[in-house]
Symmetry: C2
């Protein structure tokens, strides 16, 4: 029986204790809980046998750092994860309370179980196993955990951009993604970037009665509708001039690999999306549309009267949240300028439209032909018994681009979540078999990297 | 000195007492105040010398009835008004409290001053003057006041539709409109109708992450944008098939009369609307666009995330409030069916769109060539010293259509408000000179009708 097998019960108890801390970074009232989670993680790093463990203080929530650098002439890995979690609302939809972890059917249910506390512990416990049994690691390891991943990650971004010498490494390892399907080992090699904006539209300088002024007064909600439909057509094609100019299509080889992934589009539509139809650009597969094509989505809109019954108002203003997901080699700054120009051009008579940038992140494409990705693929295959697949994600993990640009290192996105883990939703869960196999896989990965 | 001149101070005190009652029909907590206002009005009718004064109870707030039927072989007028008022919010924008009437610069400021308590008192005091001095009226008069005008007027509508014999009359008289300009006597001969709807759009069966699913998931806000822009083009022309089929253009004579109204379009844009440009159908004047053309307006929209910062959600559903103003001879039921069909046709892939009817009212056109309108025009001209103008209103007064269809009588819309009286807004006011001249004018009107 290996150390990891012997300690499964301990690992689970540690995970439960970690999950009981409501470290919700978006809510100021949980500031103390967020710090408690940082200290918990630091303590785990210390217990695992890492050196120089400390909280790195800055503008926001602390970063947690720790290292083991005893493997001379061996590569150094920078392990990244986050100890903060999303809010748990709506609470009434949880089957067990979000911060009282409960095991049901081989899964542990709690906010943060998969995103990302469970996966952070995988990294820590893999290291702990080596240090507690062999007394050393096959390669050098640094940990950098953050507590603001769910609120934009400003602290870690500015810290990494300052290029502190102690972050020097050969590759980053991120466990914050998911496997394509249960039991199918997966490495993510592409992430979309993002430009998140707010559109403010002003019509008249005060609300107007639609009876008296309907026919001559500008309507800012109608104006937003006109802008939205000018920006994206009914086929999901974005009409912003120049927007697609830098888009790199996936290689035929990559598309061919995607076509071999186990995937039932009807089941996906019914069970994952739950809508009448899938939408989007014709001529592209679901993988291309969600991984390799940029999108434009409106996330929210507010304007005028939305209470019970009828009020005949032409509102003075309306606001919408709109983002674009970007793919390589699009640039957030350029996409935002293109967007701004397109909004100005689409803005109808009688209203003014103002666009604000909320945040942006670059898309990332990892070249899978590097030794760290190869090592991860091999380790995953050994533990899961299947050939590792390479996929992309439609989401954004901004830190990947920051590591690449500021530290000059690639990221290995080796995640153990599952598509139905309910990230950011009620009843978030993490599969315990993936938790234990994840620890084994990262453990193997360290060995292969150190060979 | 006439009776009315002698009693100006009394009239003003009565108006103030009436205005102190916060008879806000939209707010359940003011139910008792609404009833107090009904009793106040009934008492005034009794004091004026009317007979058979009573509250007519029904499903909602009471109707107030009173009559004087002593003028044999003379016509009978049915005086209509309402004793309920709009809410006063936002309170902080009032210069004096909304239910503590204050006289400033010849105006009385209070919620309901113009809409409609001041104008109701004009009708009552005109009758009182005759009965207190001559002891009889030149023609027969019935009063029917309601307390639900601001909440849809269901009680009065069902009561009038039941055609009670005691409502038999030759014409209705409504003082709930405004004069085109200060000192310019005005009769309103046209009102737009309305169809008020809610549009509910459902995409996926749960909120989705825009990173993971953006590119294939339907977006109900984008869908509403597509529907809105399909229903109305950028020029304000409604694209619903058949929608304009019944629209009757105003006669050349009426248009010619409108062109002689004192009106500065630039001042109107700047002071009344306060927007960069006026919008709407080209080839039509402001009067045509607001009085004689139907419109489609979105009043409010709600969907997705509208809080601070960024949330990358594709919402499962969104809702919009949309109304159409109708002109003669459009029919609300037919327009709603046309709207429903057009929404269904414009509904994009992947979402379902459901349309609900909130309420509807017919447009009204009064033929100005009837003796009651002529009498009103003559009375107004005598008191105000200018030729009475005929205008229309872009708003809707549903009771006009109900009187026409159920009682078979025309309405004389003789109003004494002014365009800047801030109806439904903070600092509602009523011009005291119009209050006193209104009483004189209605008094004259009774005499002319009785000739």
């Amino acid at each position: 029986m290996t150390y990891h097998e012997q300690n499964r019960e301990n690992y689970l108890e540690t995970l439960k204790a970690f999950l009981r801390i409501p470290s919700i970074s978006t809510l100021p009232e949980h500031k103390d809980d967020v710090r408690r989670a940082a200290e918990f993680a630091a303590n785990e790093l210390r217990n695992a046998g890492l050196d120089n463990v400390e909280l790195i203080e800055g503008k926001g929530n602390p970063l947690v750092y720790g290292e083991w650098l005893g493997a001379k002439r061996k590569p150094t890995l920078l392990f990244y994860g986050h100890y903060d979690v999303q809010p748990a609302e709506p609470l009434e939809e949880w089957k067990s309370p979000p911060f009282e972890p409960e095991v049901r059917d081989g899964n542990i249910y709690a906010r943060g179980a998969c995103d990302d506390k469970g996966q952070v512990l995988i990294l820590i416990k893999a290291v702990e196993g080596w240090l507690k049994t062999v007394g050393k690691l096959p390669c050098n390891v640094k940990f950098l955990l953050e507590g603001e991943e769910e609120v934009g990650g400003e602290h870690i971004e500015s810290y990494v951009q300052s290029k502190p010498p102690r972050l020097k490494a050969d590759a980053a390892v991120i466990s914050d993604t998911e496997m394509f399907a249960p039991d199918l080992p997966t490495i993510c090699v592409g992430l979309r970037g993002i430009v998140y904006t707010e559109l403010h539209v002003q019509g008249a300088d005060h609300d107007l009665h639609s009876g008296v002024y309907g026919g001559v007064a500008p309507n800012p909600i109608q104006a937003i509708a006109e802008i939205l439909t000018a920006l994206k057509n009914r086929e999901g094609h974005i009409m912003i001039p120049g927007f697609y100019d830098r888009v790199q299509p996936p290689s035929e080889k990559e598309k061919e690999a995607w076509s071999r992934l186990p995937f039932d589009v009807e089941e996906y539509r019914k069970k994952e999306i739950g809508s009448r139809d899938l939408t989007g650009e014709s001529g592209y597969t679901v993988f291309e549309r969600t991984w390799a094509r940029p999108t434009l989505e409106v996330h929210g809109i507010r304007g005028g009267f939305t209470g019970e019954g009828a009020k005949t108002v032409i509102p003075a203003r309306a606001v919408a949240k709109i983002s674009m997901r970007l793919v390589a080699d699009q640039r957030p700054e350029e996409a935002f300028e293109q967007f701004k120009a397109a909004v100005a051009k689409a803005c109808p008579l009688g209203v003014t439209a103002e666009v604000k940038l909320i945040h942006g992140a670059r898309p990332s494409l990892v070249n899978p032909d590097n030794r760290f990705v190869h090592a991860a693929a091999e380790a995953l295959q050994q533990v899961f018994g299947k050939k590792t697949v390479y996929i992309r994600s439609g989401g954004s993990i901004p830190i990947v681009g920051v590591f690449e640009r500021s530290l000059g290192i690639p990221s290995v996105l080796m995640g153990f979540g599952l598509p139905d883990d309910n990230l950011h939703a009620p009843n978030e869960k993490f599969n315990l078999s993936n938790f234990y196999r994840g620890i084994e896989a990262v453990s193997q990965f360290l060995e292969i990297v150190g060979r």
